[in-house]
Symmetry: C2
Subunit: 346 residues, 2 copies
C-alpha cells in the first residue's frame, strides 16, 4: 500500500509534525511512503522519501522539490507533458494543530475526493475546540472535568476554588496553558491564554490525578489500543514532547482493573462512534473516585499513538479499506428545467 | 469593489444556489461581479457575468468557460503565458447546503488566504448540524425548542407527545423533514429522514407558532435587518423556494412590540458574536408564550436575505473591510535547530 503522509502546516506544531512524519518511516515499514509537505505558508511540496530529514525543512531546501497543486482527485505535479497526479492509495493526515486538526485538511481531502485517514470536518471542529468537546461528551453521556468558560471581552470572575488550570480552547499541546495556584495569579494567566485565543476554559487543577490514555479506531471492527498511563509531568517540555512524537516502540499497558479498562473502552467507543470514523484518535481520561472523566480528545496524536498498538501498520491498512463514504448527491437540474419550461427561460 | 460569487457545489441545493447567484446581479448593482461556479463534481469554472443564466448550467455549457485551480492566494486560470490569478477583492460564498454551509468552502478560502464572506469553519459546522446548534444556543443562554436525538442504529422511542416534526440534523431546506401526527406514522418518517442522515432530531410540532426571522452581520458595528414574519406554509414547495431565493426587493417589517424586537435582536447578537464574524446570517426564531426560542440558524440564507436590509450592497462592502483575521503563526524552526545541535543531526 502506498501511503501519502501529509505533514507541516501553518501551525504552532509545524515542527513537531515534521518529527511525527519522519517517525512513520520506522513505523510503516512494509508500505510505500509518499511525503507531501505543507509549508508554513501553505504550499504543497513532494518530498523525496529517501532524503527526508528535519534539516530539509529548516534549511528551506524542500523548495527544490516538486510543488503540487490540489485538484479534483488528487495532488498534481506539473511536468513536461502536462499535469500528473501523485500516486498513492490513502493520505494520512499528520498535521498537528491548526490546518490538520481544525477541519481544513479534512475539508479539502473530502472536497477533492482524496481518501484520507483523519477525523472528518465535524469531528475535527468538535475535538479541536475544548469547549465543544465538552458539549459533545455531555451529549453522549461521557462525563468531563467541570469547567467555566471565559471570553476575551467578558467577565474574569470564576466561581471554582484554586488551584485551577487555564486553557485556550483551540490550541493543541500546552501552548497558553497555566496552572493558577491563587487568585492573585489569575489575571496574568488569563492575559497569556487570551493572547492565543478569544475563548478560555478554566478547570479545577487536580493534583496527582490518575491519567489514562485510550487510543483506537474502527475498521471493520473495533481496534483499541492498550491503556497507557502517561508519565506525570506538570508540562511536557520540548525535549519530552519530541521523544513523544518520535516514539516508535511499544510501551507497557497500565496496571488497572478489568472494570476500569472496560469503563475506559466504553467511554472511548461512545465518543468515537460514528463521529470519528476514518480516524485513529486518542482520548485522554482522568479517573477521580473511580469515575472516568474525559480530559481531552487528541484527534491526531503524535505519530498517531503507534506505540500503543500491537499492529499499527496492519491497522492503517485495514482502516484505509473502511473509510466513511460521503453521501452521493445527484444533481440533475430538474428544478431549473421546470422553471425554464414554466417561464420560457430563467 | 469586485465581488467573486462562489456558487453551485455538490449539494442538494446546487440548483437553488444558481438561482441565488443570478439574483445577486440585481442586488449588487454598483459592484463588479466575478462568477465562479463549483460544478456538481467539484471543479471550478469562471462564468461570464454578461452571459450568466440558469440554462448555462443545466445544459453543461459552462464547461466551455475557463477552468480554475485553487492555489495559495486565489483561483488561477492557465493561459498562454502561465497561470494567472482571477482578480477580485472578496469572495461571497453563496453555496447553499453541503460544501458551502458545512465548512468545506470556508476551510479552503482560509487555507488559500482568500478573503471571503461566509461563516468560518467552526461556525459552519455548528450551524449546519441542527444538533450542534442546540448545544451552541444552550451554552450561550439562548433557548431552543426542546428536542430528542435519534440515531440510525439506535432506539426509535420518543417520549414527547404528538404531533412532532422529524428533521435530519445536517440538511438545509426541508429535505427529509416530516410532520408526524400520530405514533403509527413515526416509523415511516424516520425511515425517510435516515435516508439522508444518520442523526435525526425530533421536536414538538407547534401548530400555528409565531415565527420571526432576524438577519444581520457585524461590520464595524451591528447591522441588523428588519424582523421578518415569514409566510406560513407547512412546507415551501419548489416554486415558493425559487421565489424566496430570487427575491430582490424589500419586504415589510413584522408588526411586533418593541420588547419582542429587542429580544429577537439580543438573541441574534448572542448567537452571532464572535463565532459568525465575517458572515451575513439569518436566525429563525419561534415565539411561544412571549419567549423567544431559536428554531435554526441559516448560515447562508437564500441570496443572503438581501430583501431584509435597507442597504445590502453597502453592507457587503463594509463587511469586506472588516473580515476576521486568522492568527499569524510564525514558524522559525527553533525546535528543529535545537534538536539538530543537540543530536548532531535529526
Amino acid at each position: 500500500m502506498n501511503v501519502a503522509i501529509l505533514f507541516g502546516g501553518s501551525s504552532f506544531e509545524h515542527e513537531i509534525s515534521i518529527v511525527s512524519a519522519i517517525t512513520m518511516k520506522k513505523v510503516l515499514k512494509k508500505s510505500t511512503l509518499t511525503y507531501i509537505f505543507v509549508s508554513a505558508n501553505r504550499e504543497f511540496y513532494l518530498v523525496d522519501t529517501d532524503k527526508i530529514n528535519s534539516k530539509l525543512f529548516s534549511s528551506g531546501e524542500y523548495k527544490k522539490g516538486k510543488q503540487l497543486t490540489l485538484k479534483q482527485g488528487g495532488f498534481f505535479a506539473d511536468g513536461m507533458f502536462g499535469s500528473k497526479a501523485v500516486d498513492f492509495d490513502v493520505a494520512l493526515n499528520l498535521i498537528h494543530g491548526r490546518d490538520g486538526e481544525d477541519g481544513k485538511i479534512s475539508s479539502m481531502m473530502e472536497f477533492f475526493s482524496i481518501p484520507f485517514i483523519s477525523p472528518r470536518t465535524e469531528a475535527s471542529v468538535l475535538s479541536y475546540n475544548k469547549l465543544y468537546t465538552k458539549f459533545l461528551a455531555e451529549s453522549l453521556g461521557v462525563k468531563t472535568v467541570r469547567y467555566e468558560h471565559l471570553t476575551k471581552n467578558g467577565s474574569r470572575e470564576i466561581s471554582m476554588d484554586f488551584p485551577v488550570i487555564i486553557k485556550p480552547v483551540r490550541l493543541g499541546s500546552s501552548i497558553g496553558v497555566s496552572i493558577v495556584k491563587e487568585p492573585s495569579e489569575l489575571d496574568y494567566a488569563l492575559d497569556v491564554a487570551f493572547e492565543f485565543d478569544a475563548d478560555v476554559i478554566v478547570e479545577p487543577f487536580i493534583e496527582g490525578v490518575k491519567e489514562f490514555n485510550q487510543a483506537g479506531t474502527y475498521t471493520d471492527s473495533w481496534e483499541l489500543s492498550i491503556v497507557e498511563e502517561p508519565q506525570k509531568e506538570e508540562f511536557l517540555d520540548f525535549e519530552k514532547k519530541y521523544m513523544d512524537f518520535s516514539r516508535d516502540s511499544q510501551v507497557l499497558s497500565a496496571d488497572i482493573t478489568d472494570k476500569l479498562k472496560t469503563d475506559l473502552q466504553e467511554a472511548f467507543k461512545k465518543l468515537y462512534d460514528p463521529l470519528f470514523k476514518g480516524s485513529i484518535i486518542r482520548c485522554d481520561f482522568f479517573v477521580v473516585d473511580n469515575e472516568v472523566l474525559l480530559n481531552e480528545i487528541n484527534p491526531i496524536p503524535g505519530s498517531m499513538a503507534n506505540y500503543l498498538f500491537p499492529d499499527f501498520e496492519g491497522m492503517v491498512q485495514r482502516l484505509a479499506k473502511h473509510l466513511p463514504k460521503e453521501q452521493n448527491i445527484k444533481v440533475d437540474y430538474t428544478y431549473i428545467h421546470s422553471i425554464q419550461s414554466a417561464k420560457g427561460k430563467a
